[in-house]
Amino acid sequence: MTTKAFGARVARVEDERFLRGRGRYLDDLAADALHVALHRSPHAHARITDIDVEAVLDVDGVVAVYTYEDLTGAMADPLPLLIPHPDLTHGRTQYALAKDQVNYVGEAIAMVVAVDRYVAEDAAARIVVSYEFLPPVVGLDAARAADHLVHDDVPGNLAATSTQATGDAMAAISRAPHRLALDLDIERSACTPLEGRGTVAKWDTDNGRLEVWSSTQTSTGVRAAVAAKLGLDLSVVDVITPDVGGGFGVKVVHPWPEEVLVPMAAMALGRPVKFTEDRREHFISAAHERAQQQHVEVGFDDDGRILGLDVEIWHDNGAYIPYGLIVPIITTTQLLGPYKPPVYKATFHSLYTNTVIVTPYRGAGRPQGVYAMERTMDAIAAALGKDRAEVRAANFIQPDEFPYDQGLIFQDGKPLIYDSGDFPQMLDKVKALVGWDEFAAFRDEMRAEGRRVGIGLACYVEGTGVGPYEGGHIQVETTGKVKVSTGLTTQGQGHQTVFAQIVADELGVRFEDVEVVTGDTRRMPYAVGTYASRAAVMSGSAIALTARSVRRKALELAAEALEANVDDLEIRDGVVEVRGAPGAQISLGTLAVLSNPLRYAFDEASKAATQFSVGDPDKVPVPEGTSPGLESRDFYSPPRSTFASGMHAVIVETDPDTAEIRILKYAVVHDCGRLINPMIVEGQIHGGVAQGVGGALYERMVYDEHGQLLNASFMDFLMPYVTEVPETIDVDHLETPSPLNPLGIKGAGEAGVIPSAAVFASAIEDAEGIVITRMPISPSELYDLRRTHAGSDEAAVAAVEGDS
């Protein structure tokens, strides 16, 4: 190998088309398609007594209208419960079109197909639905009180209660010299990718094939779901993922109602049909995350070392639970972070509410778990009057304790065993990066100017690269170009770049000669999807293994062609050379020609592979156990997840007058094992931090008591602008390789967002001297907290005076 692509800051090949506006997104496809618009429930909880579509049929340009009555076969069944779990005793999912009840504002009731979206919307608005209203259950307090039920047959609104424990936590806590209890809240937010959901379907009547394009994080998942729902053989369904304008989790849910309704309509009408979600629809009919109430009990010693930890969590899963218990399982398992409480017990209750469903959003339950754990660490430090970093360090798993078994079952059904990490070194790095030890002096300096500052710290461990598997296919073309395909999808992360880096090094070809395709079931029908920070670990590893197979094959062919020993060969820039024999070489393109014995020549190069030109006339052209073509398809399946880790620290300034919160410094130390492309990892961290700032300080889902979402637009849902995100984010890396995969890598996609609520709560608490138990926090809320706090101080003083 002459160049080393792995580990280099290679510029993203994707950026050429993205930055020039040449990305090809779902809505750019099928200009000739019919468009759909959905009639959605304006009520959070109601029985449907009648649906009148008469008025729609008069609208010029309307082609078809569908309600539940029109669904047949598997389409008339509820949508799948994607991830069953033994504790999910009361799993409920919605119908593609509401059958007789609606359970959230935005639930699809009818679908109009028309010549364009304008007409479809005009028509959808004319559908008249009659309702019998039911009392809506909004928020966790209402869900827990269970005065009203979301689903009649789900007592207590409880989808599931699930407990994991490593021992009798309460007993350990009661024996501890110090004890604390915390009640914490964290609110809803959402992925809000720039591109919403969308699906295009074409039914090829001549060949009986269905082609579906979807803005999804799992084309194979959509393919399986569409085939099952429409009663088609998998082999006649193709699902292709075009450029996707962000996913962040919401697009891993499948099938969305529209993802099966659109193909259904395309088949029925024999014409291409398109659904492009609009922004309001995304807010009210896609998915949210994060809302939990948490109760923590902890016992600890004089050093702040935790002796027992007991956590109970109430998780708002929205109206339905298609993605199962993944989010609260991740919360309760990943809550432990880099720490090793000797006894731990966690129980979660997953509760229905009459609001949009909750499914994984970047971080997927971890931000909540880290929030609970890190608030606890800060509380312990405050109770003991100790440095917050010191208390954390006292609880760290040490570098010589890996692999470390936390004694729990993780979200992938496998044991929660950390593979590698170095938390003490990471803490040293983040303290240095943020200036932890110099902060007291800085605070004094600011105080002298009448300014108020605080510093926060939060640590996390993230299980990444969950199985079951991913695959890679690599084919060397006769031109020497290397075509790589993997089945998982891409949403802008830079997969085309990093996978090409891996192939360039493993195969010995130029980075520019590698072309990567993702998320196309025609190219790679076996795949799982892009979620849980798994693409680099899973597909990266699979592609590396595939490249090694192709390399072996190329060297064997070359050894024969060059009459040399395989061990004496090396591949450099796509050319196989015999070490120490200048001139003895053959290109991979030529080997690709030779690998495919031909009868017919189609150009100059291919003549070399025809029957009178090639090989030993006594040999079988394609010997048993080999196949034509310089290509391979291999799979990677890990024993369990690999665990990345990180620590964030932030310095904030809070305005004494206006309670505005300003970020002065944001520092990140991150360990995702070996870095394929540091620039891309840093980009992922920057994006994650930006989303985390949103989740901690700006974004929330404001539901009123009727279940109406009051801020379903980017005017009132405050996604941070570039002006709200810190201008610089200081990043330092640590590389402890994973022993679980061929490249030693761990996932990096979600990391940046995970500790945000925790780190901002920590810093604001430090600046204000007021305990923070609810996140996100706005200036208005901080102002209220100050007044309540001042009031309680006055009350306390009054009480003391009254005593005397």
Binding site: A659, S713, Y783
Partner: protein, 294 residues
Amino acid sequence: MKPAPFSYVRPATIDEALATLAADPHAKVLAGGQSLVPLLSMRLAQPSTLVDINGLSELAFVRTDESGVRIGALARHRQVEDDGDAWRAQPLLRQALRLVAHPTIRNRGTTLGSVVHADPAAEMPAVAVLLGARVVAASVDGRREIDAADLFVGPLESALRSDELALEMVVPANPPRTGTAIDEIARRHGDFALCGVAAVVSVGENGAIETVRASYLAVAPTPHVLDLSEAFVDGTASDRNLDAAAEIASGALDPDADIHGTADYRRHLSGVLTRRVVRDAYTRATAPDAQGAR
């Protein structure tokens, strides 16, 4: 998020525009479109006709003379913000426009359009009332001038009739020994404010404060102007006087809560901002800008 059906008219003359408005009481004027188009897309506004005045280039003017600044209906925020003469004559225009949304929106949005849109959280209506601006409105029946003080009837509701087109706004020049300032608190940079305050402070030849007036946005259904002069009877911008002015403001305003802030918080901000802008306006009144703004 597609507008309901509407007719589209792009008049070549003002008379043609007025005739169209007269013919259809549900017509709506499209100038910069920065407020109207989102309302159309969300179907919150469903006018039967859009009268696109972007062809009336004679309305794309900013003219300044001794008496003040005249801003035509097609003058973009950016054009007004960048106009040096307008700034020297009435610096509050530029000061306020810098707080209006983002540069990309200011490139298209029109200042007069923002005024007649009458959003109580917008900066320019509050500025227009504070400065005693007048809006020239035309219909097929003729022209009339509307004092900004009479223009704002309620949230998103102005005194402009459906058959009228606002042609221009006349903003008086800043008098001598007078300073202006504006500040606001918004959740994000460029968002509508939770509370905003603009102030005009005039001092006598001896430098003593004579009058202090302030205009409040986002804390009342229409721009709310308060005369704070009584807090400054000794002529100084002392902390005590500023506190008194803040107290007058907090006491006079009765803001609503919304999802971004409580009523108490907004009232508190009105006091904090009153202090800030009165102090800044006073500083400018006593030490005029070196580059010539009054």
